[in-house]
Structures are given as structure tokens and as C-alpha cells.
């Protein structure tokens, strides 16, 4: 594994590279602390994309990446949708949805500006996330919408099973799960108090709230970030 990996900062104390979420020890040839996504990263928590960094790019060690440039924070993530019901048309439609709620909006994190850069790709030719291309941070198996299905989607870490008939806000909400945001509601009691209208609520009219942006960035806060 080469050390000329992108977006890492050298710790002055030792030759360990802070690789956003983890330290990489070049002598040991592995990350020193566990992948914060633990089981979601695979069985060997110290591994880096299955020991195959050439084909499986996971530049941040997470399902999304936080980069700092001057006073601008960029949160980026890629999603490949796959399966026979996936199409370029659907990818474009879902791209428009995340543009509307995430990419196209200006957020703040303390003194810094925050920009989201989420990209959708489609691979209708493959049925497995392992064979789907291009390689992305997250994968969605598209299930055709049949009639009156209430359960829109399942999202488990960087893997999703989404119905093709998601509305724009449902796409934006589900994208929040790829940023490791949990639901602000339960099916029984509804939206949590104080979270009404937030993206991760179950309300009809939802928008990304400041605390959701904070949670996303704080989880992968670059060291030395002087935004706060």
C-alpha cells in the first residue's frame, strides 16, 4: 500500500498519517486504531478496503469524506445504484434530489462554509454490489416499486435497498443515512420533539438542519480544523 494517499495529514510526533478517521502506521502497514465503522468495514477492522486499495478506493476510511480547504469544508460521497431497475435516468433523478437538498444549499460549520458534493452513478448491468461499477463509497440496490409498498428502503451502513419510487425528500433523507445520521423519529411515537422538519424526521416537509450538518462533520472532523 503506497503512502501517497490523498487527503491525509502528517502528525509531527511520529511518522503516522492521520487518515481522517484513523492513523496509518507505515511500518506496521496498517491502521493503528480500529475503523470507527467497525463491522461495517468488514471482519478485519484494521484492514483497508479488503487489503485491495487499488480496486476499492476508500480514501477516507469511511462512507463519506470531509475535506478542509481554507475556510471551506467539503463533504463528499459517491453512490452507485445497481440492479435491473437502476438506470441513468433514475440516477439523474436522484442526483437532482440530492442537489436540491444537499449539494445546492449553503451550510455553515462554525466559521467555515460547508459544501456537499454527492454524486450518483448507475450500473443496471450488475446485480451485486461487489461487481457494480464505478466503485463508490455507497451502493444502492434498486427495487422496483410495486403498488402500495410502505417500506421505502432499507439502509445498512454503506449499503441500501431502495425502492425506485422514492420521492425527492425520501432520497435526501436516505442519503442522510449514508452520512451515518440516524432517524429522528420512531414509527410508534413519531418525530422527536425539537426535530420537526429536520431531514431525518418523518415529517412531510423536511430540510437539512444545522445539527445534522454538525453531526456529519464532527464525526470526521479534520485535525487542526479551526472552524469552531
Amino acid at each position: 500500500m503506497g503512502l501517497a494517499l490523498n487527503n491525509s495529514a502528517v502528525s509531527p510526533q511520529k511518522l503516522k498519517l492521520y487518515y481522517r478517521a484513523r492513523y496509518y502506521d507505515p511500518l506496521a502497514g496498517r491502521f493503528l486504531n480500529e475503523d470507527p465503522i467497525a463491522f461495517r468495514g468488514g471482519h478485519n477492522f484494521y484492514a483497508y478496503v479488503g487489503e485491495d486499495p487499488v480496486d476499492l478506493v476508500d480514501p477516507g476510511g469511511n462512507d463519506y469524506h470531509v475535506g478542509l480547504n481554507g475556510n471551506t469544508i467539503t463533504v463528499s460521497a459517491t453512490v452507485t445504484i445497481y440492479g435491473p431497475s437502476a438506470s441513468n435516468q433514475l440516477a439523474q433523478s436522484w442526483q437532482n434530489d440530492v442537489n436540491r437538498y444537499w449539494n445546492g444549499r449553503n451550510f455553515q460549520f462554525g466559521k467555515c462554509n460547508v459544501h456537499f458534493d454527492i454524486k450518483f452513478f448507475a450500473d443496471p448491468g450488475h446485480n451485486w454490489r461487489w461487481t457494480a461499477s464505478p466503485k463508490s463509497d455507497n451502493y444502492v440496490n434498486v427495487i422496483p416499486q410495486k403498488g402500495d409498498e410502505r417500506l421505502l428502503d432499507l439502509t445498512w451502513s454503506s449499503y441500501g435497498r431502495w425502492l425506485s419510487g422514492l420521492t425527492d425528500q425520501d432520497v435526501a433523507h436516505s442519503m442522510g443515512h449514508f452520512f451515518h445520521l440516524g432517524d429522528d423519529y420512531s414509527l410508534i411515537s413519531g418525530t422527536k420533539k425539537g426535530h420537526e422538519g429536520h431531514m431525518m424526521s418523518n415529517d412531510v416537509i423536511r430540510n437539512v438542519a444545522q445539527h445534522e450538518v454538525d453531526d456529519i462533520i464532527n464525526a470526521q472532523l479534520p485535525p487542526g480544523c479551526g472552524c469552531k
Binding site: N96, P144, Q145, T155, Q169, L187
Partner: protein, 152 residues
């Protein structure tokens, strides 16, 4: 003593396994129960006045709105008013297909269908949205999504 310790360990393991099962299956069980509950309620479908035609995928058009009054299982308790309001009822699906302008009400909850927008309990549905709404109108007037997602 050793046997007692083993027994304790066994039951502790059983408890942990049961708790894990509960955590994993509870959201799915909840959603199944909620889906069954919602299936009994009468639904109202209309074309959303402000929506743009969204990508047609698998011949499903998503440019519709669905409203469900919480706990309303009797279609006759839903009131319709308005000269231009048209409706038809599909008993099998328990769905009213509604068109035109007018007011639909159940108890204190009202849906106003206007030419260019829909207002539910004084809350205007944004007119720039490109896709469908699925609205569950609760007894207290709160609007929630009648469809949901699960995540772990």
C-alpha cells in the same frame, strides 16, 4: 459452584442473544404492524397541482399525493365539498381518487385542494416539489410521512 457459574453464563448469553434479536428485528416488526394498520385506513389520492412530471420508472408515475386520515376506516365519515370536486371510490383498495378543487375533511382535519396548491390544516405543501407526497394526518393535525425507511 462451577455448574452454577456455567448456568449463569448460559442464561446471560441467552439474554444477550434475545436482546440482540430484539434490536435487529424491532424496527422491521414495527414497520409490518404499521403497514397492516395503515392498510385498513381509507386513502385519498390526487394529482398534486404544483408537481412536475418526474421520471417514469417501471411505468409508475410519482407525481401524486396520497392522504390518510389517522384511524379513519369508514369511508362515509370523510366529507367532500366543492362544486368542482370530483371523486371516485375504489372499495378494494379503499382509495378515493379525487380531482378538481374543493375541501376534504375528517373531524378537525381539512385538506384544501386549490388550483395551484394544496393546504392541509393551514400548512401549505410547497409548490416547487417535483414528486409525490404520502401524508398521514394525525389526530392532532400533525403531518407525517405515511411511508418510511429502516436503517441499522
Amino acid at each position: 459452584m462451577k455448574r452454577k457459574y456455567r448456568k449463569l453464563l448460559f442464561w446471560a448469553a441467552v439474554c444477550v442473544a434475545l436482546a440482540a434479536c430484539l434490536v435487529i428485528t424491532a424496527p422491521a416488526m414495527n414497520s409490518v404492524l404499521m403497514a397492516r394498520k395503515l392498510k385498513r385506513f381509507v386513502k385519498i389520492e390526487t394529482i398534486y397541482p404544483g408537481c412536475q412530471e418526474r421520471a417514469r420508472i417501471n411505468n409508475v408515475s410519482h407525481c401524486e399525493c396520497e392522504f390518510v386520515f389517522d384511524d379513519v376506516t369508514d369511508a362515509s365519515t370523510i366529507l367532500f365539498s366543492g362544486v368542482n370536486l370530483t371523486r371516485s371510490y375504489d372499495e378494494e383498495r379503499r382509495v378515493f381518487r379525487v380531482g378538481g378543487t374543493g375541501t376534504i375533511s375528517s373531524g378537525k382535519n381539512t385538506i384544501q385542494l386549490l388550483v395551484d396548491r394544496i393546504v392541509i390544516n393551514s400548512i401549505m405543501i410547497p409548490s416547487d416539489r417535483p414528486s409525490a407526497f404520502h401524508v398521514l394526518i394525525k389526530h392532532d393535525g400533525a403531518l407525517t410521512n405515511s411511508r418510511w425507511d429502516l436503517h441499522w
